[in-house]
Subunit: 450 residues, 4 copies
C-alpha cells in the first residue's frame, strides 16, 4: 500500500496518490500531472480513478490531462449548475475499490456546492475509517472559506457546518488529508503542521470549537477573503477541462534583442523584491517567483502575453511553472539577467528603500504631500496598524491605483516589504513618479516599539 | 513544520525527520545518514536532537555518525545493563523542544528494556498528542516481538502489554510513526499500510484486541521468531557506536582477473534467483539483492570478506548498501557480469528448476533417495504444508545443513522459490551434488489443488 | 559556448546540442526529445535549428516532435526520391549561424543519398574547422555501411569514398562527432573510444587506409550487414514524420489477471537471458532489455501489440523506452514479476543450459538427432567456428525457423549465450520441444582450447 | 572507453575521468571528490591513477582525499623545491596503462616548474596521440600565466614557450583537454569554446602565432595578473595534502538569533549585487555566490570564520561549496533570508544605484568631493576608461582601501556593476559613509556613446 502527498509550493496545494495491489487513485491532481503517472508506475500501480474534492478556484485541475494518459475515470461531486464536462458524478455513499482499499464518498458542500470528502477504509482492517481526503472543507487548523456564493452566504456557511459534523462523525482516529497547507490563498489560519487527525482537529481547530451552527455562520460571515480576478478563469477551466501543461516547463530563452522585440502585454520581473528595488527595466511589474501564486492572478489578465525577467534560468522555470498551474501561461519567453541588460545600455529605474526612522519622520512632517500606503490584507490591518497609514490591499491595487494621485509621494508598506515592492512596482509602472518601499514594514515598526 | 519519513527498503526500516523553526530532530537514523543532514539543511533546519527508540537488533544505528556531522545530542532510553556509549539517557516525562514542537518521552519496555516512545505535541495546538514515534513497540497491524530476553520471556511480554496501554492512553487522535513497515524481520503480521493512528490500531490491531494481560503474554510466548547470528553484532555495535558508512556506497569494481585473485571468504551472487539457477560460478551463495537484509545475516559471518557478483553496477550498489547497513561491510569488490565470465571460460553450475507435476511424481515414487525440503518459517509451515516434506528454516540451514546427507537428492521449496534458491545454493556450495528448486513452491502447489 | 553529446544506450546513438549566445542547434535528435529542450533551456539557449545528418534506418527521428515544441527549423540533405516531409533541404555550402558559430553543410552521400556532414566553425577563431558532425559517414574506427541500395551497391560505395575525402579535406585538427558509437547496428568495427579527430582517423581508421577508390568499393561490397524488417518502418517514419513519444515512458502496469486477459500479439520477456532460461511463462519471447535495440526489430512486427514481462518496474521502463525509439510502441502493458506468477499457479517452461563438455560430447555422439545451431553474425562465423555447427543468424530465425525441424534437438550457441537464448526462446515459442543453450558459447569453447 | 569532463563552475575548473576495461584515471580532481568515484563505479571502473598536471594555485586538490577512498596512485610532476607529500613523481616519458589506453608524460614547465601534460594513446589505434591533458600550459585560445616565479620571469616564460612546442609536436590531430575554461582566474583570454585540438590551436591561438621565443617571452612579461592572497594557502595545501571536504556541503542553518550570536570574523552576503544594494545587514561584505571563486580569496583571510547570508538554502549551499574548494571553509553557518531579518527589527543599510546620466553630471560638477572609482582589472582599463576615474582593482581594495578617504564620496564602477558592488560593500564595511554604485558601469557608458 502506498500513499504519497505531492505538494506544490507557492499554491501550497496538496494532492495525493493512493495505491494498493496494482491500482491507484489520484486526488486533486495539478495541471503538470506527469509526476503522478511516473510515481505510480514506478511502483507498478495503474491509475484507475481520479477524484476531485471540488472545483478548484485557485489552480487548473490536471484531471483531464492525466486521465488522457491512463484512461482513468474522473469522479467529481454533484453540482447541477456547473457540471464538470470531463467527470462522472460521485454521490454520497458511492464506493470505489483501489486494491484492498475502499473509498467512500461523503457529500460535504459549503466551500463549494460540489464539494466531497473521500473516506479511506482498509478492507483488511475495516473497523473505522483510516483517513479522509477533506479537500477544502477541513484543513489543519482551519476550515474552508465560504465566500464563493455571495448571495447565499449564510446558507453555504451553514452547509459547511453540517459537512464538518459529517467528517467529525468518522471518529477521532481518522487521519485528515486536506487539499491545502499553510500559505494557501484558500485559508489564512492554517497550521504550519501538515499532519493531523479528525480527533486532533476536534480538540484544537478553532473553528471546530464553535458548537452552535448559528455562531459558526456568524463567524464565517465575518471573515474577509479576497478573490483575484483569475478565479473566474479557474471556474471556467475546471468545468470545461483545460489542455495539458507543456512537456517542458521552461520559457523560451530571450536574448536582449528578442526581449526588446517580443510582442507581449506585460513584463514580469520575478527576482527578489530587493533586486527589483535596486534596479529594474522600466515598466516591469515585480512578482517575485514565490509570490506569483498569490499575486499573478491580480496583475496578469487572462490571455495576456507575458515576458519573464530573472537572474537565472532556474528562476524562470519556477515562475513559468507557477503561471502554467494558474492558466496564465501565454509566456512568450524569459530573459536573464537584468544587470547585463543595464550594462548593455538599457535604461533602468530603482525604488528607494527606507527604514523605520525615515517613516517615522515623514509621518510627523510630510503628511500633506506624502502617503504611507499599507497594502496588507484587511485582517492583518485589523490586528495592528500604523496610525496615519492609508490602506488598500496589494492585489486590489490592480484597479484601485486609479483612485490614487500619481503626483503624490507614496511609501508602500506591508508586513515585511515584499508585497510592498509588488505594489510599488505597479504604481511605478502606471507612472507614479515618487514611490519608495518601507523595508521591514509592520514587522520592523512593531519591533521598534518594544 | 516538516515531517518526513525516510524508508529503507529491504529492512523496511522507517526513520523520521521532524522539524520546526530552524530546528530538527531525527528519529532512528540508519547508518548511511547523510540523507538526514541533506534533507534538513535543504529546508534550513539544524538537527539538534537524535532519538533512538531502542537499541536496534537488525541494523546499525547512524546516530553517532550523524551527530558527528552536526553536534546533535543523542537520546536513548534507560538500560543500566547495556548503556549506550554515545547517547544521553531519556527518561519518562523528559521533554525536548524542536521549534514550536514539544517531544515527550514515554518509557515503553517490552521489545527491549530501553525502549521509549516519543510523543509529539504542537504547542500551538496543544490539546492532546498529535503523534507518537512508537519504535518497535507498536506497528501498523502488529506489536513488537518479545523474544530477546529468553529467560525473562513472560516478564517482558507483560511489560509490552503495559507499554501498549500507555500508548493507547494518548488518545485515538494520535498518529503513529513506527520504526518498521511490512517486510521487516521485526514482525511478521505488519499491515501493508504505513499510516495509522492510535485509534485505528485500538480498533483493528489483532494484538490490541487481547484485553487481558495474561492472554496477551500467552499469545506472545506462542510466537516463533528467528534470530540471525548478526543480531549479536548489532547489539554490540549499537551499544559501542559504529563508524560512519563509506562516502560512496559502491563496491570496488573487479575485473574477472581480480575476481579470481581477490582474497575473500564468501562470494555472494546477488542476481535474481532464476538467474542463479540457470548458471552461476561454482561455490557462490545466492542472496538476491532484495533478500540480503533478511538472509545475509544468516550466511555471512561478522568480519568475513565478501565479493559480490551481479549483472549490473546498480545491483552491486544496492547489495553493498544493504550489507553496510547491517555492519557486514568488508566488501572487497564487485563483479559483473556472470555470463561474460562464463564466456571467458569460467566453469559454471546450474540448479534445475522443477514444477508441481514433477514434485508430485517424485513424492509418489522417489522418497527413498530424495527429500522435499521446505525452508519456510515455522509459522508458515504451521498454516499449510506438503505431506511428506521435511522442514528446516532457510536461515537455520547455515548450520543445520550438517544434519543433511550430501549424497541424497533434495528438492528445495519455500513459498515461491526465492528462499528455496538461497537454500539450494547453500547446499550446493557445501558439496551437495543433487539439488534442485521447486519453482512456484507452496504457492503453485496450493493453486494446483483448486 | 556549449556542446553536449546525448548518448542513447542500446542503439549506441549519439546526438548533440551545440549552443552559443542564446541559440542552439540539435543534431540527430531521438524520438523522446524533451531532453534536448530541457538541457538547452537550462542554459538559456533557444533551439533554432535541428539538423538530420541523414534519414535514420535504426531509430525514429525526434526532429518533428522537437520542432513542434520550439519552432526550430529542420534541415535535411537532398534526396528527390524520398523528400522528408517535415524538413527544409540543406545543400552543399549552406551556412547557418548559431550565436558566434557558423555551421556549413557538406553533402556526403554513400551511406544514404541524402547524407550530409555539418562542419563547425568558430567565427572568433576561424582558421579551419573546429569539428564536424559526421553522421553515419565516418565513425571512430569505421565508416558507414553502404548496403541500403542493393542495386546501386558499387555506386554508393564509391560515393562514400568521395564523401570521406571531403571530410578528410577539413584538416587533421577537426574533431569528429559521429551519429553512432560502438554497439550500433550501423557498423560493427567501431572503436570503443568515442572521441577522435579527422587526423587521428586518417592515421588509424582501417577503412581510411585504403587509398584506392576501387579497392575501397571492393572492400565495402564484401561486407555482410543485416537489415531487420523494422528498418522499412523507420524509412517510412523518417520521411513522413512520426508522433512524439508518450510523455511518460513507462508501460501500464499489469496485474497477473490483466496480463492473462490483455489482448496482445506478442509477450516479450525482457529479463536477463539466465532468468529466462531457468523459468519463463510459456510462449514468451526472450528479448533482454539491453538487446531490444538490436533484436526487437526482427521479432516484433510493425503494429503488433506487445506485453512486457520483467522482474522490476525499472526494467519495464527501459524496455519500453527502447521500443518507443524504434517505433514499436504499441505496448499494452508490463508485468512484474515472473516468479510471483509461477507461485500464483502459472505454468512455466525452462531451457536447460549446458557447457563446453556436454557440447563436445554431443558433437561426438549425437549428430543424428541433434544440431548445434550457431546464431552469430556471418562475419563472426567467418572468423572462427565450431566444426559441425549449423549457422543461421539470430535475427533471421524470425523466418528461417520454418526451415528447421521442430522434432529435432537443438543446442543454440552464439558468442556468450545471450543471443543464443533469444534464438532458443523463439524456437521454443514455435513449438520446438528440445532446445537448450550453450552457456559461454564460442567464448567458452575458445577458452577451453587454450 | 569512457572520458568525462567534470566542470566546476565559478572556478571554471575542468577535471577528467578516463576509463577503459575496468580501470580509470582521474586528472586534476577537485576537493569534493566523491563525484569521481561515483561516476567511475557506476561504469564498473576502478580508479587506479590520479594525475595532477601541476600544483594548483586556485583550488584545493582532491587527489589525496580521493586516493584515500580507492587506493589509487597519485602522480605529480617533478619539483625538488616543493615535492608533493602525497604523490609519486612522474617524469618525461613515463607510461601508464589504463585498460587499453596508454598515458605518457610530457614535462611542460613554465606555468609552474612541476607542470606535466599527459598524452593519451589508444593502443588499438596507436598511430599518433588521440588527445592530451594540457593542464594550465595550453588552454583553448590562451596559454598559461607565468607570473608565479617573479624573480625568474623571463626564464619561465621561455620554458612555457618550449613546453608548448612539445605539445604542438604531438600533431594536429590530438584533442586538447585543459584544466580550465573561460572565466578562470588562470587566464583572461580563454575562448568560450571548450573543445579544440592541437591543430586548431596552432592555427588560431593568438599566443601560438608568436613564432619567436623572445617575442613570446616579451609578450608574457607584459601581461598583468592578480594573485589573491589565498593563493599562498593553496600552494601550501597542495604540497602538504588537505583534508577531505565535508560529506554534506551545506552550512549549518542559523536562526536569526543564532546569526546574531555566532562567533565569526566575517559576514558574507552572497545574494545578487542588486539585492545587496537595496538592503543588507550592516557590516556584511557582498560576495555574490558566483563571484566567490574570483573574489573570496581577496576578502576572506585564511582561517577566518565565515557566516553566510542569502535568500535561499540553495544559494547557501553553492556558496559553501565554492569556499570549501578554495580551502576557506570555516563556515560557521548560513542565514536566510535578509528581508525577514529586517522585518524582525534588524537595522539595514542600502547602497544607492545610479546611472550614466548622473555619473556624467557628477563628473562635470562634483570632482572636488567625489571620486569615480573604477575597480576593473588593469588590462580592461587599458582598453577603455572614463576620463577622470580613479583606478584600483576590486581585489586589491582589500588593502588599498586604507589609501582612500572615508569622508569622501565614491561612486564605484566596473564593467557592469557587479564587481563595483563588491568593492562598494567593502568600503561601506570599513566605514565609508557615502558610497554608491554605477549600475551598468563601463558597459552602459560605452553604449551611451554610440
Amino acid at each position: 500500500m502506498y500513499l504519497e502527498k505531492i505538494k506544490t509550493d507557492g499554491l501550497s496545494h496538496l494532492s495525493y496518490i493512493l495505491g494498493s495491489d496494482g491500482q491507484a487513485a489520484v486526488i486533486d491532481p495539478r495541471r503538470d500531472c506527469d509526476i503522478y503517472l511516473e510515481r505510480a508506475r514506478a511502483r507498478g500501480l495503474e491509475i484507475t480513478h481520479i477524484f476531485e474534492t471540488h472545483r478548484n478556484e485557485d489552480l487548473i485541475s490536471g484531471a483531464p490531462a492525466l486521465a488522457a494518459q491512463c484512461d482513468a475515470k474522473i469522479l467529481h461531486g454533484y453540482d447541477p449548475k456547473a457540471p464538470v464536462a470531463y467527470a462522472d458524478t460521485a454521490r454520497e455513499g458511492d464506493r470505489f475499490s483501489i486494491g484492498q482499499l475502499r473509498l467512500e464518498i461523503l457529500e460535504t458542500p459549503g466551500h463549494t456546492d460540489d464539494h466531497i470528502a473521500i473516506v479511506i477504509h482498509d478492507t483488511a482492517h475495516d473497523d473505522g475509517a483510516v483517513g479522509v481526503f477533506t479537500g477544502d472543507a477541513l484543513f489543519v487548523g482551519d476550515v474552508g472559506r465560504t465566500d464563493f456564493y455571495p448571495d447565499r452566504a449564510e446558507e453555504v456557511a451553514g452547509l459547511l457546518f453540517d459537512s464538518l459534523r459529517k467528517i467529525l462523525a468518522l471518529g477521532d482516529q481518522a487521519i485528515i488529508y486536506p487539499a491545502h497547507g499553510a500559505g494557501s490563498v484558500c485559508g489564512s489560519a492554517m497550521a504550519e503542521r501538515e499532519f493531523s487527525t479528525v480527533g486532533h482537529e476536534r480538540q484544537n481547530n478553532p473553528k471546530l470549537q464553535i458548537a452552535e451552527r448559528d455562531a459558526f455562520v456568524r463567524e464565517k460571515l465575518g471573515e474577509v477573503h479576497y478573490q483575484p480576478p483569475y478565479f473566474r478563469l479557474m471556474e471556467r477551466a475546471n468545468v470545461e477541462g483545460w489542455p495539458a501543461a507543456p512537456r517542458v516547463l521552461a520559457p523560451r530563452p530571450l536574448t536582449l534583442d528578442r526581449l526588446d522585440a517580443v510582442d507581449c502585454d506585460v513584463r514580469v520581473d520575478v527576482r527578489d523584491p530587493e533586486s527589483f528595488a535596486a534596479g529594474h527595466l522600466p515598466g516591469c511589474v515585480c512578482l517575485p517567483k514565490d509570490m506569483i501564486p498569490a499575486f499573478a492572478g491580480w496583475f496578469i489578465k487572462e490571455g495576456q502575453r507575458v515576458a519573464l525577467i530573472a537572474n537565472t534560468e532556474t528562476d524562470l522555470r519556477v515562475a513559468m511553472a507557477h503561471l502554467v498551474r494558474m492558466g496564465l501561461d501565454d509566456v512568450v519567453g524569459g530573459y536573464s539577467s537584468v544587470i547585463n541588460a543595464i550594462a548593455a545600455g538599457h535604461d533602468f529605474r530603482s525604488l528607494p528603500t527606507i527604514g523605520t526612522e525615515q517613516v517615522r519622520e515623514r509621518l510627523e512632517d510630510n503628511r500633506d504631500t506624502w502617503t504611507l500606503l499599507d497594502v496588507r490584507a484587511a485582517d492583518e490591518v485589523k490586528e495592528n496598524r500604523i496610525e496615519g497609514a492609508a490602506h488598500i490591499y496589494a492585489g486590489e491595487l490592480n484597479e484601485a491605483w486609479t483612485d490614487l494621485d500619481p503626483g503624490r509621494a507614496y511609501t508602500v508598506m506591508c508586513a515585511s516589504g515584499k508585497r510592498a515592492t509588488i505594489a510599488a512596482s505597479w504604481l511605478a509602472s502606471k507612472g507614479f513618479g515618487s514611490v519608495d518601499i518601507y523595508l521591514g514594514s509592520m514587522g520592523a515598526w512593531t519591533a521598534a516599539q518594544d
